[in-house]
């Protein structure tokens, strides 16, 4: 099962028999069985035939639209599942309830612990790096999580932890010419930030699918407040996966020199940096490989891929909110 990425501008997505076809300028670019497709991501512009649209909906294959640079625009998706109990549990926990505080704690703990283990690993592999200050600051943010009782103060801890992490992120990049000063978004103004933003947009697509499959309302989150059109729950659940999936791929891409500075272009006026077509394909391939890579899930004790882990974590969250388990364990990898 794989994701279809359509990077060709003005492509036409159609359907013949039970296959998905992508054409551009009267040439067939892709012809794959629907059975093998589990998601379609359009980067840039594309038209889609009504028949293909219906077929995608019926097969419950989500279709996401991103701009060429990876900014998330929106998605088309089959209806929420009929499992109303999950959604009602989700709504009951909204606001400042004990359950909300517990899951927010877990999201932040997951994220910060993964940040910390990334730094620890880098430190182990390269003794010349001096990350001790950042690690200490991360630990200072992790320690009070369990004793903090309001969501706002938890958000403060998350901010402090993230600041420490992004402050030390530059040291993890070993490729010449690439620098990371601080996290900049909308638009990203350097290659590293551009890659991070692109990766997070892709991850959001995947997590949102998982959240939907399990039956949540993606717009009601706990850590992220409600805002029109913002998939807050997906963003919440994304936190623990950011370092594990996206940051890891970005660092691997740069440090293995899979992308060079010539793969990026800068827009004159806004200083926005984006990837070239070829670079985008390289990055998409690496991202997909990461998603399909296996590891041992610390809670279930079985082998699973990151792709499966998105859904597993969403299910664990559902179980906790419905009162079937005592706690929500975030995915923390050593």
């Amino acid at each position: 099962m794989g994701t279809v990425y359509i990077t060709q501008d003005d492509a036409f997505i159609g359907k013949t028999d039970e296959r998905l076809q992508v054409k551009a300028q009267k040439k067939t670019l892709l012809d794959v069985p629907m059975l093998k497709v589990e998601g379609v991501v359009v980067l840039g512009r594309a038209t889609i035939s009504p028949a293909a649209l219906t077929e995608l909906l019926e097969r419950k294959i989500p279709l996401s639209f991103l701009t060429g640079t990876g900014r998330y625009l929106g998605r088309l998706e089959p209806p929420l599942t009929k499992n109303i109990f999950v959604r009602s549990a989700q709504w009951q926990a909204a606001g400042d309830s004990d359950k909300a505080i517990h899951v927010v704690r877990s999201f932040i703990r997951g994220k910060l612990k993964n940040y910390r283990s990334m730094f620890l690993r880098a430190q182990r592999e390269n003794a010349a790096l001096n990350l001790q200050a950042a690690i200490t600051r991360l630990e200072q943010a992790i320690a009070p999580i369990n004793a903090t009782d309001t969501i706002d103060s938890l958000r403060g801890l998350e901010g402090a932890g993230s600041a420490a992490y992004f402050g030390g992120f530059d040291a993890l990049i070993r490729a010449d010419g690439f620098r990371f000063e601080s996290r900049r978004r909308r638009p990203p103004t350097d290659p590293v930030n551009a890659l991070l933003s692109f990766g997070y947009a892709l991850l959001l697509h995947d997590i949102q699918s998982a959240v939907n499959i399990v039956g949540f309302d993606p717009y009601l989150g706990y850590l992220h407040t409600q805002r029109y059109g913002r998939p807050s729950l997906a963003l919440d659940l994304m936190e623990e996966f950011r370092p594990l999936v996206v940051d890891a791929v970005v660092l691997a891409t740069l440090n293995r020199r899979s992308l060079t500075l010539s793969d990026f272009t800068t827009e004159a006026l806004s200083q926005a940096v984006s990837l070239s077509d070829e670079g985008r394909r390289t990055f998409l391939r690496l991202y997909e490989q990461k998603k399909q890579s296996k590891f041992k899930h610390p809670v279930l004790g079985t082998q699973c891929t990151y792709q499966e882990a998105f859904e597993i974590q969403a299910r664990l969250l559902a179980k906790y909110l419905m009162g079937e388990t005592q706690q929500y364990p975030p995915l923390v990898l050593k």
């Binding site: 279809v4 013949t16 039970e18 069985p33 391939r285 997909e288």
Partner: protein, 90 residues
């Protein structure tokens, strides 16, 4: 389940139809030979669609199942490579 589907159909029109259906389920490896990796349900669907179409007195379609262990032992010299199904680009 991994399977090799081979067919022998004398009439061109019907052969094309069979070919088109099979393309939706697996990968075309050689003339009148497909390799498919399907679940139980998908296989049943495919079988149903094919059996409705063919004329049993003239045509034949064969499904050879490969166990997981044998599947890795397929050797290839030349010809079509196996499609990478983790990611598709267009």
């Amino acid at each position: 389940m991994h399977m090799v589907v081979a067919y022998d159909i004398p009439e061109d029109k019907r052969r094309t139809k069979i070919h088109k259906i099979l393309k939706s389920y697996g990968q075309w490896m050689q003339f009148s030979l497909f390799e498919c990796n399907l679940t139980e349900t998908q296989y049943t669907k495919l079988r149903n669609r094919l059996s409705k179409l063919i004329k049993p007195e003239q045509d034949s379609v064969r499904f050879y199942f490969l166990c997981a262990c044998c599947h890795n032992k397929v050797e290839r010299i030349g010809g079509e490579g196996v499609r990478d199904e983790t990611i598709f680009f267009a």
